[in-house]
């Protein structure tokens, strides 16, 4: 502990009024930063990225029916994107919860999208699973892994909650998620819309 002694001496000055004034001034400088002490001009608008507070990266792909689909067309709605694969047990376990939640909301307000990691799944098995569980919400396909890379999905399942203006509000890694978690996260986003 002897090496810490010089630091200890310095720290004793924290009780000195000059130190207190210095701390307050430092606090003021930090607060004043937005008024011109910024070191690089910030681009207007939020950046794109798969993390909380960023704009959800744009997706353009196909669904099970072979139709072209894209995320931009869902702007104005709350979108829940669930990355899943048919070989993944927690994905299979939580699928019913997503189905039940999708039934609770008007699709013009809240949209649940299952994003099948088709590049690392068997399309036939995925389709059979969806038919067997009678899933009715849209299932989009990640045919070449581009969307999985774009969303930096490192574990299955991973679920992104995106608000009506396209901002990622929550990312839930792993599962199975239950209905309460999904519903409450959506309700919180709906509450924010009402506050605005």
């Amino acid at each position: 502990m002897s090496t810490l002694r010089p630091l200890e001496k310095v720290m004793k000055y924290t009780r000195n009024p000059i130190f207190l004034i210095f701390t307050i001034l430092l606090g003021l400088v930090l607060i004043a930063r937005p008024f011109g002490l910024s070191d690089q001009a910030e681009q207007p608008g939020l950046p794109f990225g798969p993390t909380k507070g960023a704009l959800a990266p744009l997706i353009s792909t196909q669904n099970f029916g072979g139709d072209n689909v894209n995320l931009e067309s869902l702007k104005g709605k709350i979108v829940v994107i669930n990355f899943w694969a048919s070989w993944c047990p927690p994905c299979r376990a939580e699928m019913q919860a997503f189905q039940n939640v999708s039934k609770q909301y008007d699709p013009s307000e809240v949209m649940i999208v299952g994003l099948n990691s088709t590049f690392q799944d068997d399309l036939g098995q995925a389709e059979a699973f969806i038919a067997e569980r009678q899933i009715t919400f849209p299932i989009w396909l990640d045919l070449n892994g581009e969307i999985t890379r774009l969303y930096q999905v490192r574990a299955m399942p991973t679920t992104f909650f995106i608000d009506a203006s396209g901002i990622v509000k929550n990312v839930m890694i792993g599962g199975p998620l239950d209905e309460a978690v999904i519903t409450i996260t959506i309700e919180e986003m709906l509450g924010e819309v009402q506050e605005q």
């Binding site: 606090g27 930063r33 690089q40 910030e42 681009q43 939020l46 890694i173 209905e179 309460a180 309700e187």
Partner: protein, 240 residues
Amino acid sequence: MNSVIQIGPLSIPAAPLFWLLGFWIFSETTERMAKKADLDAKKIINLIYLSGLIGLIGARLGYFFQFPAAFLSNPLSFISPRPYLLSIEGGALFGGLAVLILAQKWQIPLLKLLDTLAPGLAFWFAAIGLAWHAGGDYIGSPTNLIWGMDYLGSIRHPVNLYWSVGFGFTGFYAMTTWQETRSAGDLSLGVGLLGSLAALLHSSFLSNPSNQGVSSEQVIIFIGLLFFAVIIFLRNRKSQ
């Protein structure tokens, strides 16, 4: 960032692990501090774990009271071990009240207890910053500084690391300046003062693309900083 730790077939999100690691460091540090302060370390550890458990229940209750219908239709969600639906406000309220009530019941002097808890809490907060960093929470503003991080298409201030370093330094400060002769409450006030500065450092370098001025968060933290500075000043004047 959404960092994940892969153990065989298990993928564990890194963020909750940092929260747990932080709690463990908090309890270890507090045990050491309790011994230094001549408090019953076993009693203090019991207080921490009991308050932690009550805080955890309070964190879930915070959501339960807001969304009772969702929980009533899925009662098992209340005891779900997943780190979602945990309200920080509810946890802090219940955990804080538990500390106060247990301290009174077990006749632990409150100011001495706060001094004992303060360094560990600072380390826990430092670990929470790492959890935010791992989870990709909070986006820093663009910078040219050499320690900027390439994140979301720009070199940005690593704001969560500022928070971690700030609170880590605060905890380190509190551990090394511990003196048995110092009057009770001084240490926790010092931690509060430096912790406010660390929080201000974090909030002032957050991304602000809409160019809004001072945020309400910054104002609240600054009021906290002023409060700690004034109390320290008044106490020093009184003791002189």
